[in-house]
């Protein structure tokens, strides 16, 4: 497994960049073009004061779009990867927080959001678990991209293939 992760590193990095970046672009884009729903969705978490939550709801989707473009183009890779990992950790914390407080909301991860009907409590908790698992997977991908930022189809190329390649990447 470990060998595979290193031997095929260029392709794995590329797959993660495009895969995660593509998802982020999709998720961010959906929310960015429905700002009111996004503002409502962040307020529904009841973590930030309402006004700040609305502000975050307007800004965050665009931040996601920016990170996605960087990852997909393969430019500014490492900062984008680490920022994405932090963003995902933040989402994990937020979802865990609503779950722990027994609230029932749609995470608004892919647009939508807000309170949901108590008759859907089980579905909501399953959705929390799935979303958190998914975001942890994304954190893993981001860390991998951070460690091995260079792959195929990337504006930033791997530094010259010299003998001390591994040294560059450590």
């Amino acid at each position: 497994m470990k060998n595979f992760l290193i031997a095929k590193q260029e392709w794995i990095t590329t797959a993660f960049r495009i895969g995660f970046g593509g998802f982020l672009l999709y998720a961010g884009g959906l929310k960015a073009f429905d700002p009111a729903a996004s503002a409502n969705a962040t307020a529904a978490y009841k973590i930030l004061p309402t006004d700040l939550a609305h502000f975050a709801g307007y800004i965050l989707p665009w931040f996601e779009v920016a990170l996605a473009i960087f990852l997909i183009l393969g430019i500014f890779i490492r900062p984008a990867a680490i920022a994405s990992a932090l963003l995902m950790l933040m989402f994990i914390g937020a979802i865990a927080s609503v779950w722990a407080r027994g609230m029932l909301i749609d995470c608004g991860c892919l647009g939508g959001g807000g309170a949901i009907d108590p008759s859907q409590a089980t579905e909501a908790r399953i959705a929390y678990a799935v979303d958190i698992a998914r975001d942890f997977a994304f954190v893993g991908m981001c860390l991998y991209i951070f460690k091995y930022p260079y792959g195929k189809f990337s504006l930033e190329k791997k530094p010259e293939t010299t003998n001390h390649t591994s040294e560059d990447q450590e």
């Binding site: 960015a32 503002a39 009841k46 504006l155």
Partner: protein
């Protein structure tokens, strides 16, 4: 890791200027986008009141607040067909219900075809002292005293902000909404400002459990929840359900 790598990135990516140019362009586009998102809320607020410029009043329509109905606002008490509407004035889906179906409900009231009871709930607010769902629900009860509930009810949906708890439903704005549709008395303004109907507001929301209502909008026809089949709110479907209940 830093030194050899930095050098090699520079030499390999060729032109650091191009790199930063791309980064800068992406950032610029995104910042502009975010700016438009922020502005969209303010624009919507400005546009809201103009929606009332062409408001058609129904005139005075008396209603009663009935403690036996969870302090619901009852029109045509005693008619055999009974319709109950549970709503929160901040609930966007309630607007999706009101827009196609509100006019028909109004006609049932004015043509005395059914007993229609409105339950203005207030659970979507943020719980602050300016809680907007409570403010709106309170103002709606104030409008009952003016015999203008249905007008005020419609006006609240006409101006509904797309963003809940955005600060739009302040006492001041609620009074302005009243003025725009012809509720000009100072008793109404005082009632809104002082939250004089808080008892009714609380009673209405507390009655949710009794009716088994868990969300808004919920509509009961003769005590039974209207389960819609179509994904949206379809006027013909609703009409058919009401007419079926009349038989």
């Amino acid at each position: 890791m830093s030194k050899p790598k930095k050098n090699s990135v520079k030499s390999q990516s060729g032109d650091p200027f191009t790199r930063w140019l791309v980064i800068g362009m992406v950032t610029l586009v995104v910042v502009v986008g975010a700016g438009f998102s922020l502005l969209s809320e303010n624009k919507a607020k400005d546009a809201a009141f103009t929606a009332l410029d062409t408001f058609q009043s129904l005139g005075t329509l008396p209603a009663t607040v009935d403690p036996a109905e969870g302090d619901g606002i009852v029109f045509n008490a005693g008619l055999p067909i009974k319709i109950d509407i549970f709503e929160d004035f901040q609930c966007p889906v309630c607007k999706l219900f009101e827009d196609p179906i509100g006019g028909y409900l109004t006609s049932l009231v004015t043509e005395k075809k059914a007993q229609v009871t409105y339950h203005p709930l207030s659970f979507l607010g943020n719980g602050s002292k300016d809680d907007e769902s409570i403010a709106a629900s309170n103002a709606a009860y104030c409008a009952v005293d003016e015999d203008k509930f249905l007008d005020f009810h419609k006006a609240l949906y006409d101006v509904q902000s797309q963003v809940e708890n955005s600060g739009f439903l302040s006492s001041e704005n609620l009074i302005t909404i009243g003025k725009k549709i012809g509720i000009t008395s100072s008793t109404f303004a005082d009632c809104v400002t002082n939250r004089s109907k808080l008892v009714n507001v609380v009673a209405a929301t507390e009655s949710m459990d009794r009716y088994g209502v868990r969300g808004t909008p919920t509509t009961l026809i003769n005590g039974k929840v209207w389960e819609r089949q179509s994904p949206g709110f379809d006027l013909n479907e609703f009409k058919a359900a009401v007419e079926a209940a009349a038989k």
